[in-house]
């Protein structure tokens, strides 16, 4: 009956999972800012432990850490990779850079444009042609690509203001095909099967496809990816990106507060197109040639698959998606057409199960978990005076929580002791001697709060007293109130009436 029960302690709140720094409390907190833009490197939250009053500092946004781990891991492993794997890493970096910029168009500007590879290809062809036919040295190929990218972006942006959403997306699928056909028509540009070869490059001729050349190629591709990420950050998290974010949330409101979101959208589109042109020029240099394959629908669909798997609109999504697709596409090359089917299957599964791609899977899972939690919470109706875990975070005095939990368990055990025999025993001898069970119940009653207690009122003349039961208010200055109009002939009967009332209160709680 009275064997000790191991206490069930529910761990409450998320604090114990947090990853805290404990800085010196007396020192002032000096936060460094990024030059020029005046932002902080990392988002820190300061606070203190409510119990020990120790100073605490917490990294509010841990994504920079993951970026650092991932990119540093890539750089650290690259020198040890085989030549084939190194080429895959190069392809990954270049495609990830393209996709990050594309994410800028789709996510920040909100224009669902599929003309990315067309812009890249145009930049590549223009830069390669300038180098091969006009003798432009390789460093100047970048401005050529930029210029052509800006021009292509300007042309593509014209209809985007007029035609909206999916219409524009479907139109831009065809742009790559138009580019392919037009370039294959220009005989002067590319005599043999429309590809331009022998483009000058930052990789020396005799290093091409050799180990040092590959390493140099990887280094440059990695720098390209970093630059693309920097551009993403500069556009997406600064003034332009914030304006566009406001416009995404409420177009009319943002217009009312003076945000020219159409202009911002076009500007982002132009910036991204220029960057894509530069990547195109880089692409031509990296492979020393450019062919019509870059405009193929399959290539476009693969790139789209990368963006879709990672999740449209976030840089980490673009990079994760690129990593998955490039790995399947290049590393499992033995599978033949099956690997494209595999990629398509991944796309279908990701699209059917996640709302906004893999990068968002975590927050989607959390939203799901919170929904389930609140459903359970709503389904739970009985709490019996105990503090529910979600209430507990709002009670500052944690001892109160422990006391309420103890009290609840004590009452549960006492309720099991109340039997007709026990009540009969009390009726026979209210003032004892008591059995062990009755003594436990009575002790609990004695220890209760004043507001739960009763008093006995003695009235009438000496020799013929009548007794009635009153409830104490528990508040000073507020008199007790009469519970009912029953009168008892003896003091023991009144004691027993009080006992019955307390038992009733106990069983009802």
């Amino acid at each position: 009956m009275n064997e000790p029960i191991a206490p069930v302690l529910h761990k409450v709140g998320n604090r114990r999972h947090e990853w805290m720094l404990r800085p010196e409390g007396r020192k002032t907190w000096q936060r460094r800012r990024l030059p020029l833009i005046g932002r902080h490197w990392l988002t820190w939250r300061g606070g203190h432990n409510p119990r020990t009053l120790e100073r605490e500092r917490r990294l509010a946004d841990k994504r920079p850490l993951w970026w650092l781990v991932g990119l540093a891991g890539l750089v650290a492993t690259a020198p040890f990779l085989s030549d084939a794997m190194l080429q895959i890493a190069i392809v990954f970096c270049v495609f990830a850079a393209i996709n990050v910029i594309w994410t800028l168009i789709i996510g920040a500007a909100g224009i669902l444009s599929l003309a990315t590879m067309a812009t890249v290809g145009l930049g590549a062809y223009a830069a390669a042609a300038a180098n091969v036919y006009l003798g432009v040295p390789w460093p100047l190929m970048f401005p050529v690509g930029l210029l052509v990218g800006l021009m292509a972006g300007g042309l593509l942006a014209l209809p985007s203001t007029r035609i909206d959403g999916l219409y524009y997306a479907l139109l831009t699928i065809g742009v790559a095909e138009i580019c392919r056909v037009s370039i294959s028509q220009i005989r002067a540009l590319a005599p043999q099967n429309s590809s331009i070869n022998n483009v000058d490059s930052f990789i020396p001729q005799d290093w091409f496809l050799q180990r040092p050349g590959l390493l140099l190629g990887f280094a440059s591709a990695f720098v390209l990816l970093l630059l693309a990420l920097l551009l993403f950050r500069l556009v997406n998290s600064e003034r332009l990106g914030l304006q566009l974010q406001a416009a995404r949330e409420d177009e009319e409101f943002s217009e009312a507060v003076g945000i020219d979101y159409k202009r911002a959208r076009l500007l982002v589109f132009l910036i991204a197109s220029g960057a894509l042109g530069v990547i195109g020029a880089y692409y031509a240099m990296l492979y020393r040639s450019i062919s019509l394959n870059i405009f193929s629908l399959d290539q476009l669909l693969l790139m789209f698959a990368m963006i879709v798997i990672g999740g449209m609109g976030r840089a980490e999504g673009a990079v994760i998606g690129t990593a998955i697709v490039v790995l399947i596409d290049r590393a499992l090359i033995d599978l033949g057409p099956l690997r494209i089917i595999l990629i398509a299957a991944v796309v279908i599964i990701v699209t059917l199960t996640t709302h906004r791609g893999l990068a968002d899977a975590r927050s989607q899972f959390r939203a799901y978990r919170n929904r389930i939690k609140s459903e359970r919470r709503a389904a739970r109706t009985r709490k019996g005076g105990e503090v529910m875990p979600e209430e507990a975070t709002e009670i500052a005095d944690k001892q109160l929580i422990a006391y309420r939990r103890f009290d609840k368990r004590l009452r549960d055990r006492l309720k099991a002791l109340i039997t007709p025999e026990l009540i009969e025993e009390h009726r026979r001898a209210p003032l004892g001697p008591h059995s062990d069970a009755l003594a436990r119940v009575m002790n609990y009653f004695r220890r209760g709060e004043m507001s739960d207690k009763y008093a006995i009122l003695q009235e009438g003349d000496p020799g013929s007293w009548t007794y009635s039961v009153m409830a104490l208010s528990g508040e000073p200055g507020k008199p007790p109130r009469v519970v009912d109009d029953r009168h008892y002939g003896s003091r023991d009967e009144a004691y027993h009436a009080v006992f019955l009332l307390r038992v009733n209160d106990l069983l009802e709680s």
Binding site: A169, L171, G174, V181, L338, I340, I341, I348, T351
Partner: protein, 308 residues
């Protein structure tokens, strides 16, 4: 314009119309842009090839020397293509519509899933049948007949005729049947339709199957002049999309007019010497961008403001 050019244009228009009206119907009734329409097209071509190869010898043996033989062959192939197309439509319904049709961002997600189905199907066909192009059994031979002094190849005549019959049948079904009424209600006001007890899930299934069957029929009809190959669906898909956009997504008459326009434009561009076949797509795109800039919702499409 040359008379045979008109026939050529009509022939193209007929096939494009079958594709475009399917895409357009799907968009307006269930709000999904079916990028797997090209896959349905290619699979139906192969389906007709396989089923035709299995069934046609018995048909030939049964109707040896009969007048009806070529018609029977035609019906068998068309039915095979349409049946496989309808099955494909069912698969797309199960994969791309049913799981997400009531979830967030359905339009874009549906587009992505169907695009992935398209990609996977083309690669699957490539893997299974190989990249070689194959010809469907010839039905009508290479004969010609004269209608009003215009020379008409048998297959062209059959294509134009069959398309006309199919389109009329589908439109009549939409107009006259109970299911058609449900679908039209869904097109006009999805919420209102749902409130009056029309289940989107139930109504979407026949739409999917019928648009799939139309793509299958288009595949069989086009295969009389073009070979069956895994990538055969890409061009009809792109053309169908262009026409559906040009006609205004959701408008069947608009799609028909746009199909006619694009068919004529294609035939005319091909015939003009300095443009030639290779510039056809370019001219078409230029045309459609021009039209969309003037009328952003296409020829038959209403602007959102007008619709409200």
């Amino acid at each position: 314009m040359d008379a045979s050019l008109i026939v050529y244009a009509l022939n193209l228009s007929a096939i494009y119309a079958l594709m475009a009206i399917g895409i357009s119907l799907l968009w307006s009734s269930i709000g999904m842009l079916n990028m797997a329409h090209g896959a349905t097209f290619a699979v139906s071509g192969y389906g007709a090839l396989v089923i035709g190869g299995a069934v046609l010898p018995t048909v030939d043996a049964l109707l040896q020397g009969s007048m009806l033989l070529s018609y029977a062959r035609f019906v068998v192939l068309l039915a095979a293509g349409a049946g496989v197309g309808a099955l494909c439509g069912g698969v797309i319904y199960l994969l791309a519509f049913l799981p997400i049709h009531d979830k967030a961002n359905f339009a874009v997600r549906g587009l992505i899933v169907t695009l992935a189905i398209n990609l996977a199907t083309v690669q699957g066909l490539l893997w299974w049948f190989g990249p070689r192009q194959q010809a469907l059994p010839q039905i009508f031979g290479f004969g010609r007949l004269e209608v009003l002094g215009i020379p008409l190849r048998y297959d062209q005549a059959a294509t134009i005729g069959a398309t006309a019959v199919l389109l009329v049948a589908v439109l009549a079904w939409l107009k006259l049947s109970r299911k058609g009424l449900e679908i039209r209600a869904m097109m006009q006001n999805p919420e209102g339709a749902a409130l009056s007890g029309i289940s989107v899930r139930r109504a979407a299934m026949p739409v999917m199957a019928i648009t799939g069957a139309m793509a299958g029929a288009a595949a069989v009809l086009l295969s009389q002049s073009v070979f069956v190959s895994p990538t055969a669906g890409a061009m009809p898909l792109i053309k169908g999309m262009i026409i559906a956009l040009l006609g205004g997504l959701g408008s069947v008459p608009g799609a028909a007019i746009a199909a006619l326009l694009i068919g004529v434009l294609e035939a005319a561009t091909g015939a003009i010497p300095f443009l030639g076949q290779r510039m056809v797509l370019l001219v078409q795109f230029g045309f459609i961008i021009l039209v969309l800039i003037i009328r952003p919702r296409g020829i038959g499409g209403l602007l959102d403001e007008t619709r409200k």
